[in-house]
């Protein structure tokens, strides 16, 4: 859903995101930090040179050119941290909701007696807390 346009994006933000993406792309290519810094400075220079352009037609042209350049030099294997979206380990494990434990079989629950006793205790405490805060619940449980 992140790709859907949800509102108007100002020119400044377009430039900013282009700059950020360009830096990320440089990071993919130049994997030594000092080298990357050097090219990042060069990239900054390219952006700074055009910072004072006030003619929107020219600026727009420049942005579209920049985006095209970004696309044509996209790395085939972008550098991603494993747990961030697109990384190798993203979403490897599905965190189960807490209520799953309530549906365990009694025999399974009996294997961890202390934990479940504590859990029941916590539930009661939570209900008490909730009722203290919002008043006693009226609806029928379902």
């Amino acid at each position: 859903m992140a790709n859907l346009p949800t509102g108007l994006i100002s020119h400044t933000r377009k430039v900013q995101s282009l700059y950020k993406k360009a830096l990320r792309s440089l990071e993919n290519w130049y994997d030594r930090r000092e080298v990357y810094r050097y090219y990042a400075v060069l990239m900054r220079k390219r952006f700074d040179d055009n910072a004072c352009i006030t003619d929107m037609r020219v600026a727009k042209e420049l942005i579209s050119k920049g985006e095209q350049e970004l696309r044509s030099t996209a790395h085939w294997h972008p550098r991603k941290f494993p747990d961030s979206p697109g990384g190798v380990a993203y979403g490897r494990e599905v965190p189960l909701p807490d209520w799953v434990l309530d549906y365990w079989h009694p025999l399974e629950k009996a294997q961890y007696p202390e934990y479940f006793a504590r859990r029941e205790q916590r539930k009661k405490e939570f209900v008490k807390l909730w009722e203290k805060q919002y008043g006693p619940s009226s609806g029928t449980p379902h």
């Binding site: 979403g91 599905v94 189960l96 209520w99 799953v100 549906y103 365990w104 079989h105």
Partner: protein
Amino acid sequence: MMKFLFMMVFLTPLCFFSYWYLSLFLFYLSFLFIFMFNISKDYSFLSYNFGLDLLSYSMVMLSFWICSLMLLASAKIFKKKDYYELFMFNILFLMFSLFMVFSSLNFFIFYLFFEISLIPTFFLIIGWGYQPERISAGKYLLFYTLLASLPMMVGIFFIFKSVNSLDFYFLSLNLDNFLFYLCINMVFFVKMPMYLIHLWLPKAHVEAPISGSMILAGVMLKLGGYGLFRVMKMFLNMGLKINFIFITISLIGSVYMSLICLQQSDIKLLIAYSSVSHMGLVLSGLLTLNLMGMWGSLVLMLGHGLCSSGLFCLANISYERLNSRSLYLNKGLMNFMPTLSMWWFLFCISNMAAPPSLNLLGEVLLINSLIIYSKLTMIMLALFSFFSACYSLFLYSYTQHGLFSSGIYSFTYISNREFLLLVLHWIPLNFLIFKGEIFSVWI
């Protein structure tokens, strides 16, 4: 033979007493029948107009088994008190009529109970189905079959006029007449169902309750195959000339159906289309009229009956928990029900003919028979085999793998009854292969 008939008749009062007793007795009946096993090339257990050869034996065994499992599968009807007495009576009646169909030696009795077995199925669909569309689905089921079966009745009268007997044993009329061929066989093609006249099947499957789907996929489709086995000896000459048309239609159809399977977002619809696709293979193998084709068709019929019925059970188990059959909601189930996930896998791979299942034996034999028939069928067979793997794995991985739908707020654990249901499907499916050659004895 009579003992089974009488047992079923006298079980009727039990319908109004206890659900589980009836279930127990049906299993008892199936086991009694299984212990009666007798390998013989010819008919045995002859009494009055009934008798069993190995073909009828295995079909009766399948229908008894599936009927007993139907009761086990639809315990929800009992729990909700949803007219379960009538439901049980319906199943018993269905079982009775299927027994009569498969064990009768007379073509007309066969025809009569072939039609009668539609009625309880129809009631199952319109009585215990879920959506309002079940009425139209029931009509589809009834009228597709009826439209094609009335010509068969005329054909039967014609046979009686010419042969003066309607015993299957004496059906030696060898008439090279296309119209006669169509009259007799069309109803079986509809029942199988062949591609182009299969429309009733997905509709009926989707709208039927779990028991209806099980019996439809498990036994009703096999009625067509059984009938073809019986009547094909009248069409040996004619079959050589025109069977290739139906082989082609059903082979191409089975590839098309498996492509359509990949489009489905409804689990039950997917399974229904996959059974059309498998039945297409059975039909084409059967129509080659060679030994391996006959053998393979019977084996695949049995295997598919157990396997798709098991898949419907699995779909129903998810349905009872999530109240949806949509693939978009039934996902990531492995996180909730890891044990069930294994059963999904086992049944899905049986559906794509992985070892060791009856489906594998059946498909290998059918592929052999069809390639002997013509090398050109190889293209369609390869595509069919590949795409059957595609949709089976698609079904498995889509329902089991990944993130679960965020709309789930509760689920209930899989009960022992449901595991038993699946095990009882799976054991015959995967253990009969070790003695697969008995299914060739009757030919």
